[in-house]
Symmetry: C2
Subunit: 340 residues, 2 copies
DNA sequence: CGAGAAGTTGAAAGCGTTTTCACAATAATA
DNA sequence: TATTATTGTGAAAACGCTTTCAACTTCTCG
């Protein structure tokens, strides 16, 4: 565990095993032939002295940092954190290690964080829900392997890993319809924020189209714009109630807002699911423990992280890679009532 | 934004400003006198060419990486993530940048992750709830500035930042007593896990002593050991109910278990707080949105991160530093009923 | 058996900084 | 004014690795 007193270098290994440092470097990097006996000798020395190459020296000499920059938007977001875990797992068995940064959903902060990553000479980049504009992204893409998760960028479709929000949302709404609900409200995610977060818009579209397909014309009175935050879910209930148009179910564009909505209903003494049914989106860890447990749409976040990591690794090795559109899955729990 | 085509080096700056690279280095690092005109010239060149020193070269030459290793135990834990955010904020204005790793509460994984950090030559370390044994930690402490958050280690008291679990727990229990509760159950955190997670034990002690102080002998039948996970909170309700000893309130050692317990009560048709009152610990973001909103103990996680960062930065500069025991605060919401 | 191809190897040249060293220039002291 | 400190400065030596280059072996094949 403890690093030895004196830093040992490639020179030490060379002496210990009676070869030149070039040879040591070669056996360690593996990209050149070395006769077996020398190879063994070097390996033995490495093992004996517990040698660990100096990454700075390696980086300086080779121009590679053996690290992959990963930009999240918020440490603490259940969805993104799960992706992070997936990325860690995916990168684990490679020689690369991830370098994290947090954009905190603010373009200026993200740009600064990106600079830090770039300064550290990351060899590749994984961007989660980035706010950067497409020009910057296209530029980055030219410089190094790139994967963008949870946002699709025109011209970079190859490099984007997104879930089919529309379809998932369509399904969730259909689930409600199948259970006999006719008057279904929707709390949207943030809609306006320029190019970002179009997740919200896609989910809204899925909801509307599902309704139409069932022969129901979506009513503007039943959709209220949220911000993906719990608070906005709470507020949405007030708005909905004030508008006075009755509804028997609510589909929230994410679990946080569903949670907020749930509290709003509780405050008004409206029972879930007896009086109003509720569906969320994301399947946050705690959603399974809500009262009642929340029916929601699960995005395979961890798997997505894994896929992103794999794709980046493949690019790094010049191998082909593909990022299919991943589909989400409805998790049926107890927040939806069957109406007869 | 985009890095220029050709990497520009200190050499370019030297030429552009008509001085030697030594001088450039000096004005940039600031630790040697340079006459004002040259200084200005260099700065101008740096600005003009948008020069950014190569961190590898710097690291190699100076032996410093200008990075601080930060080990968390789980991306996705509300408490730890908040600390992470605090650390980021605290380190932001310095020249250092954080390097994150995830120990996932598994000693072997943590050791490996630590090695990665060490290989990257971090200049200092912040360890959150580490599982490493004290010998390793003492060893690390000798090598570099170190701050350990949320765990106290014998011989390293100076370097540990912990919250007063005992006191907070005592207060939470007292709150229940003050509201007239006599039969208070406790769902503990993980107790047995060797040296780690003694948070659980401290919270248990606080609970017991508060009871005793009120003249109530704590009953073993009312405490059930949990694991800090939601699931164990759910199970605990079953255990408690099976034991048959009545209780009017539950104090869970964290919010996750409180959430689990809440679901358990819901399943049994036991109302909160009408039939049973509930208190948690941690004040997770979503706890404010539970039904009913959960009374809980808030640890100032983000502030703790800030303090940890500051302490590490001070150490790095050879300045004195201190890590006071931070105290938690009871957040009264709606999950506790006043019994008359 | 001999010529060229292929495989091994060490010396040495970077990679882009920081830092030591020696020297020159300036300021302070006598 | 002559000496001695003090500063400011560039050349050059690290820092620890990768990679090119050239030399030397060892194969292959006609």
């Amino acid at each position: 565990m403890a690093a030895s007193k004196e830093r040992i270098t490639i020179q030490d290994i060379a002496e210990q095993s009676g070869v030149s440092i070039s040879t040591v470097s070669r056996v360690l990097s593996g990209n050149a032939g070395v006769t077996e006996p020398k190879r063994q000798a070097v390996l033995a020395a490495v093992d004996k002295l517990d040698y660990r190459p100096n990454l700075f020296a390696q980086g300086l000499a080779s121009g590679q940092s053996m690290s992959i920059g990963v930009m999240t938007q918020n440490f603490g977001s259940a969805f993104y954190d799960a992706i992070l875990r997936g990325i860690i797992a995916g990168v684990e068995k490679s020689n690369y290690s991830p370098l994290f940064a947090d954009g905190r959903w603010r373009t200026d902060i993200e740009r600064r964080a990106l600079q830090t990553l770039l300064n550290r000479r990351v060899d590749a980049l994984i961007l989660l829900g980035t706010q950067l504009d497409s020009d910057d992204l296209l530029d980055l893409k030219k410089q190094m392997p790139l994967v963008i998760v949870s946002r699709s960028v025109a011209g970079l479709e190859q490099n984007c890993l997104v879930v089919d929000n529309y379809k998932a949302s369509f399904q969730a709404t259909t689930h409600l319809l199948d259970r006999g609900h006719q008057h279904i409200a929707h709390i949207t995610g943030a809609l306006s924020e320029s190019n970002v977060l179009r997740d919200g818009a896609q989910r809204l579209a899925g909801y509307q189209d599902a309704l139409r397909k069932a022969g129901i014309e979506p009513s503007p009175k039943l959709v209220v714009e949220g911000s993906f935050r719990s608070q906005s879910g709470l507020l949405a209930i007030e708005t909905l109630l004030t508008r006075g148009k009755p509804f028997s179910a609510i589909f929230a564009a994410n679990d946080q807002m569903a949670t907020g909505a749930r509290l709003g209903l509780y405050r008004r003494g409206i029972r879930v699911p007896d009086d109003v049914s509720l569906i969320g989106f994301d399947d946050q860890p705690h959603s399974a423990y809500m009262t009642p447990p929340l029916t929601t749409v699960r995005q395979p976040a961890e798997e997505m992280g894994l896929m992103a990591a794999q794709a980046v690794l493949n690019q790094l090795q010049g191998k082909p890679f593909a990022l299919p559109m991943v589909s989400a899955e409805l998790i049926v729990r107890e927040s939806v009532k069957h109406i007869y």
